[in-house]
Amino acid sequence: MNELTNSVGACKRPLRLVWLQSGGCGGCTLSLLGEEAPDLITSLEAAGIELLWHPSLSEISGADTIELLKRLARGDQEFDILCLEGAVMRGPAGTGRFHMMSGSGRPVMSWIEDLAQRARYVIAVGSCAAFGGITAAGDNHVEACGLAYDGRSSGGLLGADFCAASGLPVINVAGCPIHPGWLVEVLHLIGAGRFSAADLDEWERPLAYTTHLVHHGCARNEFYEFKASAEKLCERGCMMENLGCRGTQARADCNIRAWNGSGSCIEGGYPCINCTAPGFEEPGHPFATTPKISGIPIGLPTDMPKAWFVALAALSKAATPVRLRKNATAEQLMVPPASRPKKRP
């Protein structure tokens, strides 16, 4: 163990972070730029992190960049954290030629492999880098995969047993895109030497946000309780029964931790598509339609006995207050909550 991991509190030099992009949209970086209170640059400073290279932010370009990456890959220059945004592009036929690193004549896939061996921490930023994500949708003719997963299967580019020099596996900050806070907090904990394997769930995602369900804090919970369902997008009711919402199963704190000040997918009036999960890109049904068998949604909460769910749903539907029933299928509030009548003097 070097001095950094032994006494991070006394760490003299900042942790150096290198960020690569491959088969993705850059949206996780753009989301990250929205980090607030404080802003991204201040947050990284506070975490003791120096951006050695980031494709959207760094000054150096071209040959200087390739030289830097070569030094890092050879081990001539130390760095601490490798972030990959976007899926690993293995195609066509395993050559990686669907994404060549500009100015280097080598597939990005090979650069990732080399750098991952040198980094103390490897972070997959977003669901593409973690699992393949949207880039692996359809028949995945581009052979996209994540760093340590290929969809729901262990492996990916680096293999199921990969551990970075810190001893940690690839940290999968999954999401499409990530919430800036998810990554920034991981970086802060790494910077403070307080991030360990115990902070990861079974997909190596940070427990900090995957101990929650998107359902937690959902402003439509009262509609859910009474199975007062929206039938069309833009209506106010629960979107689980008809509109494909996966909030009761999806693991993320989106309705506790606001997006862009006050938002979330459900706050935006559209269903959760479970974008932090491996394989979310191919749900097996249209995203905004709930698949059903005999009128009962297939995707019920994972840890609730189906019979109980059906029984409770029937009961709560029978008990739905008129207010919720009317509001559920309306765009605007039709019936506000009412208090008990005022006392007359």
């Binding site: 949206g27 929205g34 802003d39 640059i41 000054e59 370009s61 994404h99 499409c176 997006w259 935006g268």
Partner: protein, 483 residues
Amino acid sequence: MTRLIVGPFNRVEGDLEVELEIADDHVSNARVVSTLYRGFEHMLIGKVPDDALVYAPRICGICSVSQSVAAAKALAAAAGLSPTHNGANAINIIHAAENIADHLTHFYLFFMPDFARDVYAGETWHEAVANRFRAITGTATRDMLPARAQFMHIMGLLAGKWPHTLSIQPGGTTRSVSAHELARLSAILAGFRRFIQTRLFGDSLERFGSLSNADELEAWAAERPADSCDLRLFLHVSQALNLHKLGRGYDRFMSYGAYASTAGFLFPGGVFAQDQITTLALDGITEDLTHAWYDSLTMIEAPSAGTTVADITRSLAYSWCKAPRLNGKVMEVGAVARQVICGHPLIRDLVAQTGGNVLTRVVARLLEIALVVMAMERWIQEIAPGEAFCVHGAMPDCADGIGLTEAARGSLGHWLRVRSGKIENYQIISPTTWNFSPRDGEGKPGALEKALVGAPVRKGETEPVSVQHIVRSFDPCLVCTVH
């Protein structure tokens, strides 16, 4: 003659490589290479049409809403829907928020840091520019990031999140807003207006937006010291480096028209070439595959019948980018195109004097920040709380639709064909597909390839900084380009 491969280009969205031939002190030839292929057009085949609204925005993290708008318009055309009055206004506000944030990100994070490079250390203006715009550590980044993040609260209110919202639908938006939320939107916009008036323009948006020719711009810049605001500082550097002589393209511009409403477009579209505005006939648009890594029966395809079959064995190919042409001609798209076509007098005059170049492209983008923020203020007032935001309709089993819009960096089109209730074909032509196309079958270079020819090479430079300015002046988005 020296050959040079320049890449990776950071501070552009996505991956780019440029191959240069250098003769004496200038670039004599350029080939532009898009290096990443993901295959969204292939991925979409066989999906239910509405699922395009999940996949298409994820083509791009910086033009995500533009991709949503184009997909929603293509679906709306196929289903015979149009958005409600409130929905159209909300879509315009969401789209404007993305485009303005993109313009801002481009200027502060992507474009200006090149002038802080050490290669300019001897210039009188360098210290001021380096303090302000040095990548990551410059003071501008610290000012701009919080302003941008607060501005994006518009997305939290109207679109759930950014990027990758599903709120934009063929019939409007999924998020109705109340009067008090409209008040909140106005407050966010007022905060942003204060930032750009103070830091960027050093003047009111109204005044900057009303400058009508190059002389007025020059006089305006001279009113105050160069370091009094970021735009004046840029204009000062531009004058010192003759950026108006850098990166001229073909001077043929195209726009689909930006920000549609029942009243028409805020910036109407069309074609501008040789001082003439003409209407745009969509059937003149084709993509030439001669120098792109795709297999096809024919090398020139109309997008409605376009194909995307990756083939790295093609011997003439050097890019994953196809070569779009209008009536066989290369077009430049982006803020200059929009403003010259809709007739803004300042951009008309700049183009008349020196054409499309690094200076014009940057000024047009910043001008749009002023014009569009003022339009957003009006759109917020035009939303009627209590009225519908979205209408719904069924997609026919068999239908075709075209969705056209303007992303920050130019014209974006989606061509959709639905058969048996599924997507049978989906073709996308993105702004940077136009600007960064490879050569076509006739050997005509794309817009950037042309703009790079003649770029000066300073003494001792191995990678010309002029090339950096020209490339970034287009505000390219390479993830969109190939998709």
